[in-house]
């Protein structure tokens, strides 16, 4: 049975690739990327073998290993790439004994690029520890425990978020948790980066991590190398206990998922909204209707809510350096960053409709109505956020003269982003999670395609805005008049690209709406 489940995962991976070339390309890029990371990390691990004091190896491996475990733990919440093809709920109708299911799902998680990289790196620590015989002999055991801890933690997190996301309330809690995690993660990384210069602190960090579940297993060989066999064995035992505990927690969560497999949003979801809601407030035109529908999606659809949280979060993250005392240059980037992200965020909007897009095709909505209506929610949000962010930056840096330049850069990036997105989203929709699925998930093999399209769209927006950014940055260096020039340029240039982009996008839309619908039914 266990072998069957693992085989299933392998088969799914292979069949997925057979279905489309982009996915194959995606996997190849993922493999190449993984190889790059792998080679870099491997050479690091080999180099550590020859580093003189074994302390350096201990510090590096404990901190690095802890980061890997942490990454696996939070990845299912905050990033995409962990696929749900073996969603436990799908096994609900088969009478698979749960113990075997747990084992099978655990082992099947090892099939895939990230797991392969982690396993190879884990086993490569054996090379690092080949400086001493006891360390070298315990290293493989510790590595296996560590790798399984990674996989188990990721399963626990995804099962827990699944359990939470079954209720609207839980979903909100999850998003909040994610927000805090990302903030905490950002703050932690930035302060660690600041301390790299002082190795003493890193050593302390390694010592602390070495006694937490994140680092227990990774620190075992270091103890053996230093002759502290007792402490090493204690760590190993604790690591195994933790792994077993994680598996038990997963088992409990899995039971919930299997006994109540349907993801429902729970009752009482009408929000007391008995009327037309936004359809009553927006103009009664096709454009107004598209806008109203988009606004409702941004408020009610977890996938949009998730990107709202991310979009609010990332510019706020730029505030962190100001508070950790590492200068406030980045603070100035808040409005431009927000403008860029908001403008560009709609570049895959049609994919979020999924096949529901047929409603637009069947009713024969005009291109401009579809293109412009979809921009309304982001435009409204940006009209509040950009001036406020620009003002926050000015207040924190005490440079109010920078406001026109900051707002101008933000606005320019926003409008150009809209223009580019209006064309991109009718050219090539790429796969996104369906409604009700994990908003941070992505169909397997799609991440590379996603990255390519995002890179193309992002680069296009950036390149088009180079002159504007040049003037804006000039203003930040003290030429106040350039700030006003930047604002003026943003208005003229931004509305120009917006007009060209939406008109072009509208023409493409009208020409290939049925083909878009076909694309959407294929990628779902």
């Amino acid at each position: 049975m266990v072998a069957l489940i693992v085989g299933l995962k392998w088969q799914l991976l292979r069949n997925g690739l057979r279905r489309s070339t982009p996915q194959l390309v995606g996997l190849i890029i993922a493999v190449l990327y993984g190889m790059g990371v792998l080679v870099a990390a491997l050479s690091g691990l080999v180099a550590l073998r020859f580093s003189l004091p074994s302390d350096v190896a201990r510090t590096a491996i404990t901190i690095g290993g802890s980061a890997v475990v942490l990454g696996w733990t939070i990845l299912p919440i905050i990033a995409y790439g962990i696929d749900e093809t073996l969603d436990p709920a799908r096994f609900a109708t088969f009478a698979v004994p749960r113990r075997q299911l747990v084992l099978g799902l655990l082992l099947s998680s090892l099939v895939g690029v990230p797991a392969a990289v982690t396993t190879i790196l884990g086993l490569a620590t054996v090379i690092t520890w080949s400086r001493s015989v006891p360390a070298m002999s315990i290293a493989p055991v510790a590595a296996v425990v560590a790798v399984f801890t990674c996989v188990a933690m990721s399963r626990v997190t995804s099962a827990a978020s699944f359990a939470l996301s079954r209720h609207r309330r839980g979903k909100e809690a999850l998003l909040l948790l994610m927000l805090l995690l990302s903030l905490g993660f950002g703050a932690a990384t930035s302060s660690v980066m600041n301390q790299v210069s002082s190795p003493g602190l890193l050593q302390d960090l390694a010592n602390v991590l070495g006694w937490t579940p994140l680092g227990l297993a990774w620190a075992v060989p270091a103890d053996f190398a230093d002759g502290a066999i007792g402490s090493g064995l204690l760590r190993l035992a604790l690591a195994v206990v933790f792994l077993v505990a994680a598996l038990l927690v997963w088992d409990v969560l899995l039971r919930g998922a299997l006994e109540n497999p349907r993801a429902t949003d729970g009752g009482g979801s009408a929000n007391g909204n008995k009327g037309l809601g936004w359809f009553g407030r927006m103009p009664a035109t096709p454009t107004g209707a598209v806008a109203a529908r988009s606004i409702i999606a941004w408020r009610r659809d977890p996938r949009y809510v998730a990107s709202v949280v991310l979009m609010l979060l990332l510019p706020l993250g730029l505030l962190l350096p100001a508070f950790t005392g590492s200068g406030n240059v980045w603070t100035l980037a808040m409005a431009p960053a927000a403008g860029f992200m908001l403008g560009w965020s709609t570049h895959n909007d049609i994919a979020y409709d999924g096949t529901a897009f047929w409603g637009h095709v069947a009713t024969g909505v005009s291109g401009p109505a579809d293109r412009l209506g979809r921009l309304v929610p982001t435009a409204v949000a940006a009209s509040v956020l950009l001036p406020v962010y620009a003002a926050i930056s000015c207040a924190l840096t005490g440079r109010w003269s920078a406001w026109p330049a900051l707002f101008g850069m933000g606005g320019g990036l926003l409008l150009t982003g809209f223009g580019v997105a209006s064309v991109m989203s009718v050219l090539k929709p790429y796969p996104v999670p369906g409604p009700g699925e994990n908003p941070f998930g992505a169909p397997p093999g799609s991440s590379a395609l996603t990255m390519v399209i995002q890179a193309v769209a992002g680069t296009a927006v950036f390149v088009v805005n180079l002159p504007l950014l040049f003037v804006g940055i000039g203003a930040l260096f003290g030429h106040v008049w350039m700030g006003w020039l930047c604002l003026g340029l943003a208005v003229v240039f931004g509305s120009g690209t917006l007009a060209v982009g939406t008109r072009w996008g509208a023409r493409i839309y009208e020409r290939r709406a049925p083909e878009l619908l076909a694309d959407l039914s294929r990628i779902r």
């Binding site: 107004g288 409702i296 409603g359 024969g364 909505v365 109505a369 619908l517 076909a518």
Partner: protein, 259 residues
Amino acid sequence: MQTRGSSAALRLRGLSKSYGSTLAVDRLDLDVPRGSFFGLVGPNGAGKTTTLSMATGLLRPDAGTAHVLGHDVWSDTVRAKQLVGVLPDGLRLFDRLTGLQLICYSGLLRGMDRTVVTERAHELLEALGLAEATGTLVVDYSAGMTKKISLACALIHAPRLLVLDEPFEAVDPISATTIRQILEGYAASGGTVILSSHVMDLVQRLCDRVAIVAAGQIRAEGTLDEVRSGMTLEERFVDLVGGQTDVGEGLAWLRSSSD
């Protein structure tokens, strides 16, 4: 109403569509006369959904034409789409909207007046027995309710032709009766309905004209009696489509009471 010299509500000529090497619809010709209640039956994978999608502008044919009341679906798109109400099968809805909002969305997208849309939407919800669920998100609807709300979306602009793909699939008998009554009323007042279904009994009871599709082509077409030619529709269907395997002595292990 303009006739443009065509008496057919829906006229398909030489429609073809292939997916890769599979030919889903193969030079299909079909005329659905005005005012008829037309049933399109065929086995799974016969090309019913593909045909209806191409007839309503949702899927571009590789070759061939589709005319709705004389308007070419693929060149006079806007006019043709105004005349048709569509209920597709297997496509999602904007399910984060409430039932009322979803119907109104379909109307507003077609450029209708808000007051008219709202009035009609409430009437439709009432008639379809969805009044209770007016403010419920469509994602929380049952399968039958979802079909009914889709039908409401297809009806909101008072189309002259209704194209319904599997309108009775996964629908309980009570909802099915409601849908049937509404469709019969619509047809009686001069509207044209074409629907696809696997349920022969239902097609037999509802439709006055029938076409049997298999492997992307029409195998038989005409009034119900012409097509049946003395048999039941189901017998005639199996007869024409063939491919039924004789179970015979196979699956012996399944007959647990045979010992």
